[in-house]
């Protein structure tokens, strides 16, 4: 294979899918990481793993699943590096919602304000359309935890958006 030809072809796939992947990354990370950097990591990883793509699902579906896993792995390694369990509990942010500070936010902005665990479940369930069982498997939690986090996220979003 001609390396230049491969990269041009892959660039076309990048152009086709980057908005969706970057939006997913931005929403999942909130203010905790650099979505540009992680998006680049995801496409490099996709390039390295093209050999595992069998064409049984649409390329976008394959890439999307790879991206979700990469983001969740990044989140876990970040939480581990910080020496805490990333269970989505962030008292400071929750208190911030209760005491104000969400004025004029649109939904995108409000999602950014959510605690990590609640934000990830909300994005995966309500934006991306995954089921609680799938989310539980990907995040290593129970479906009940996923449901609780989703409800928590929605109620926080309501509080933020109604200010």
């Amino acid at each position: 294979m001609a390396a230049s030809g491969d990269q041009r072809a892959f660039e076309r796939l990048y152009r086709q899918h980057v908005a969706r992947i970057h939006s997913l990354t931005r929403r999942m990370l909130g203010s905790d990481g650099d979505p540009d950097e992680l998006t680049q990591d995801i496409f490099v990883r996709a390039w390295e793993r093209l050999g595992t793509y069998r064409g049984e699902a649409a390329f976008g579906t394959w890439l999307h699943r790879l991206a979700v896993n990469a983001i969740l792995n990044w989140r876990r390694s970040e939480a581990s590096a910080r020496g805490r369990i990333d269970d989505g509990v962030d008292a400071e942010l929750v208190e911030g919602v209760r005491s104000g500070g969400g004025e004029g936010l649109d939904l995108e902005g409000a999602i950014q304000r959510l605690p990590p665990g609640a934000r990830q479940v909300f994005v995966l369930h309500d934006v991306q359309g995954f089921k609680h069982e799938e989310i539980a498997t990907m995040m290593g939690v129970t479906p009940g935890t996923s449901k609780a986090q989703l409800h928590r996220a929605r109620m926080l979003l309501r509080a933020l958006l109604e200010r």
Binding site: M1, G5, A9, E11, R12, G51, F122, D126, V127, R154
Partner: protein, 221 residues
């Protein structure tokens, strides 16, 4: 029902409540303005979330990606599918009919939906297509070689097969060949189509499986 609905509100919004619990929740919603208001708000948030638009990054990230690819991240070519199919000849014939129907629609869609003339010149080259370049060229070549070998073998053993089997096989192969020709013709117009490349490879794989199966059958006769 004690108190407010709490987490059951989200379950209601998602349609996950049924039976007596649903009846009780609906009765509560009818009576409780607070829960009703929360239900409406959560339903609105979910609908809004489902309709969010994707936005590209503010800066072009490709340059950084390309630099990292050039540093040595290798792509592993796709191998030809080796999945063994345990289908009978009539099943293969039926599958081929389905394949042809799907192929015809898909190729029509692909050829009408795409406008290759508008694509950048760099992507119009048959050698630069995503699959042809990234993965499938060697796979398709492997299929062609394997198919030729099996056709040669089968030609020498055809007399060992009964006429019904020969007819079914010819029908299956004719349908699959039509699908292959359609895919090749569409690819000539849109060589960068990932779907068409994948579709061609899939059709070749089908043909290979039919030939393998009937060759095995002929050898056992």
């Amino acid at each position: 029902m004690d108190g407010h609905l709490g987490e059951r509100l989200s379950a209601l919004v998602d349609g996950e409540v049924a039976g007596p619990e649903l009846a009780a929740a609906e009765a509560h919603l009818t009576a409780c303005a607070e829960c009703r208001s929360a239900y409406d708000a959560l339903l609105g948030i979910r609908r809004h979330a489902q309709a969010l638009d994707d936005r590209p990054p503010e800066r072009d990230l490709w340059t950084g990606i390309a630099a990292r690819l050039s540093e040595g991240a290798d792509v592993v070519p796709l191998a030809p599918r080796r999945r063994r199919l345990a289908f009978s000849i009539p099943q293969l014939a039926a599958a081929a009919l389905v394949l042809m129907s799907v192929s015809a629609g898909a190729v029509l869609l692909a050829t009408h939906a795409r406008r290759p003339a508008a694509a950048p010149a760099a992507f119009s080259s048959p050698t630069a297509g995503p699959i042809a370049g990234l993965a499938s060229a060697k796979g398709v070549e492997s299929y062609d070689t394997a198919i030729r070998d099996l056709e040669t073998t089968l030609a020498t053993r055809r007399s060992t097969l009964d006429t019904g089997t020969v007819r079914a096989v010819q029908q299956s192969l004719g349908i699959i060949d039509a699908a292959i020709r359609q895919a090749e013709a569409a690819l000539a117009q849109d060589p960068n189509s990932m779907y068409l490349n994948s579709h061609l490879e899939h059709a070749l794989g089908r043909k290979l499986e039919v030939l393998r199966r009937v060759t095995t059958l002929a050898a056992a006769s």
